[in-house]
Symmetry: C2
Subunit: 231 residues, 2 copies
């Protein structure tokens, strides 16, 4: 019997590559996505399509309204910053940071893992091109793993420990893309833009687009998705 893994699937480049890695490692994948009031709903359509193409065992989309608290350009009407250089991106925690988002997402992964009796959670966070989010750092992930093993029935009963896998955490965007190509990932399915057009075309100028474009450029490939402005 295959081991089960919960994969947090946003529909982006990183989480899709992570899903491919989890399957390659032999895990039975249960994918979890969130409808959290994000401005870029096209993400969810891509997540659905990707989950189907990868034939995951189950794909849950959990609705949570993070807009209720406010506080982020990804969920509020605050403008997403554009055309920032790497120095500007790394100078401070960006306005696109959603308060406690990964903590919340991982908590739901934990609940899903407990119900499915899965001992593995895969998360596509990255500490290289991580754009300044505090909850993408290795020490955050380690602290969550400790918490998870104290929070659950299995943890209390001293059974097999739950593990948080972050296979991309030390890779550059270019290395992630090369890894994905190696595993046959079709990146035309993925979506990264914080501020897409109505038709889903990426803006080409938000931090996420800039990191993605730089990654494809460094990897020596052309990004297969549509952009609405040249960058």
């Amino acid at each position: 019997m295959k081991n089960k893994a919960i994969v947090l699937l946003s529909g982006g480049l990183d989480s899709t590559t992570t899903l491919a890695i989890a399957q390659k490692e032999g895990f039975e994948v249960y994918a979890l996505s969130f409808d959290y009031g994000q401005r870029h709903k096209v993400e969810l359509e891509r997540a659905r399509e990707i989950a189907q193409i990868f034939s995951v065992i189950d794909h849950q989309i959990m609705t949570i309204d993070l807009r209720q608290f406010g506080g982020s350009a990804l969920t509020d009407s605050i403008d997403v910053p554009t055309h920032r250089d790497e120095k500007e991106m790394s100078a401070e925690i960006p306005i696109t940071y959603v308060p406690a988002r990964n903590t919340i997402f991982l908590s739901f992964c934990l609940a899903y893992a407990e119900v499915k009796n899965a001992k593995n959670i895969f998360l596509g966070v990255n500490a290289v091109d991580y754009s300044g989010y505090p909850d993408c750092r290795p020490e955050f992930i380690a602290a969550f793993e400790t918490l998870a093993n104290l929070a659950t029935k299995a943890g209390v009963e001293g059974k097999e420990k739950l593990k948080i896998h972050t296979p991309l955490i030390q890779l550059t965007k270019a290395e992630i893309i090369l890894k994905g190509f190696e595993l046959g990932v079709d990146y035309s399915l993925t979506h990264s833009c914080y501020n897409p057009a109505e038709n889903g075309a990426a803006c080409g100028s938000c931090d996420s687009c800039l990191l993605r474009l730089k990654g494809f450029n460094d990897a020596g490939f052309e990004d297969p998705i549509e952009y609405r402005e040249s960058s």
Copy 2:
């Protein structure tokens, strides 16, 4: 200026006492409740009323559908166990355990705290009459506090640390009730039953009712709420 605190308010005896303690300690209270598909929705009505009576600054009710994953008698159609003695209650983690519930609730408290710039979270968990839930133990709370300070902007920027307060964690139910009376808490407003009647009357036989009734008995007071069966 008063310090701000997020109080997790279920509408039960413990969380209401915790709210009273936070106010007594001088905090400006922001209350957070969850509509999580619980069978006992009367809880939420009580939470609303309690938030109003205590004149909290803001009361948010966050909707999350934990039924989507399944796995608990509190959200599923599994029967709530009744008339168990203390030995039976403590023998194993009960079927009323909701997977990762406190991890999820605390994660939202963290998001709310970050948006409101609050450095304090109050939680009415209890390790004495805790009925076997893994996520009510002191080591779980300590691990969450560590996580919280790694997860947030403030944590990264090395500002004032976030603190999780659990003023009831070492008290018996009787001690909690006596503390509440000292602070003027009206326990007729609170609700504890896992399996209430349509009119909101408590069953008197689930673990939560039994612990509550024993607490009032040990404290030497009569429980002011309505029960549908004598116990």
